[in-house]
Amino acid sequence: MKVEVVYFAWVRERIGLPRERVTTEAETVAGLIAELVAREDRYAMAFADLTSLRVALDQELADFDAPLAGVREVAFFPPMTGG
């Protein structure tokens, strides 16, 4: 399946892209992360510490073990600092 993967803040800076279209075999977010980390060092660096990362599926916060079936957009970012 194909998903749009978007990155924000230092995740975006480490990976060097704001978004990309990814073809994946993964069934969960964690599976997608494993595929990305295997690609290149910059992904490994961005995903080194999952406790400092958040994920949203189709613009709703989700867990790393959430299934990807039917998801169009996966976003990775650090904890939010709004307000």
Binding site: F8, A9, A56, Q59, F77, P78, M80, T81, G82, G83
Partner: protein
């Protein structure tokens, strides 16, 4: 209820007066305004990144929660993104209710959720380089008090 996400500055005076005037039957209006602290001149600017689309959805969900939890006549959230100088207003929240307890509680609730659950990220640009503002443990703690009640 009104929700605005924009790069442009907003007019705190006009928004405050318009909000209070429009809140028919309210006896209490609370506003919160967030301002870029310049840390005694150490901060050159702040860059606020956000997630277009999700930002509006997340804030609308937070406002719905506040409206379900307290008796509100009206609520307003304005949040900016992009580059802001020290002293510039980042955002504002306003709540209106018959009584002050609801207006205060809803405004604090909205602020606590905006801080940690709306997809904004702040980067400080200073004389000695730039750095992303880290989320604070105390902000997560502030959120937990609303789950307890």
């Amino acid at each position: 209820m009104r929700l605005i996400v924009q790069a442009e500055p907003f007019d705190l005076g006009a928004e405050s007066v318009g909000f209070a005037a429009g809140a028919a039957g309210a006896g209490a209006v609370v506003t919160f305004t967030g301002i870029v602290r310049d840390n005694g001149g150490a901060l050159a600017a702040m860059e606020i990144e956000h997630y277009p689309g999700m930002t509006e959805r997340a804030i609308a969900a937070i406002m719905d929660q506040a409206a379900a939890r307290w008796t509100l006549v009206d609520a307003l959230v304005i949040h900016r993104y992009g580059r802001l100088a020290g002293g510039e207003m980042i955002m504002m929240v306003a709540t209106a209710s018959a009584h002050r307890a609801d207006a205060f509680a809803a405004a604090e609730f909205l602020m606590d959720y905006l801080k940690s659950r709306a997809p904004f990220w702040k980067k400080e640009l200073g004389a000695e380089g730039e750095s992303w503002v880290a989320a604070k443990d105390e902000d997560e703690a502030a959120l937990r008090r609303w789950q307890r009640v």
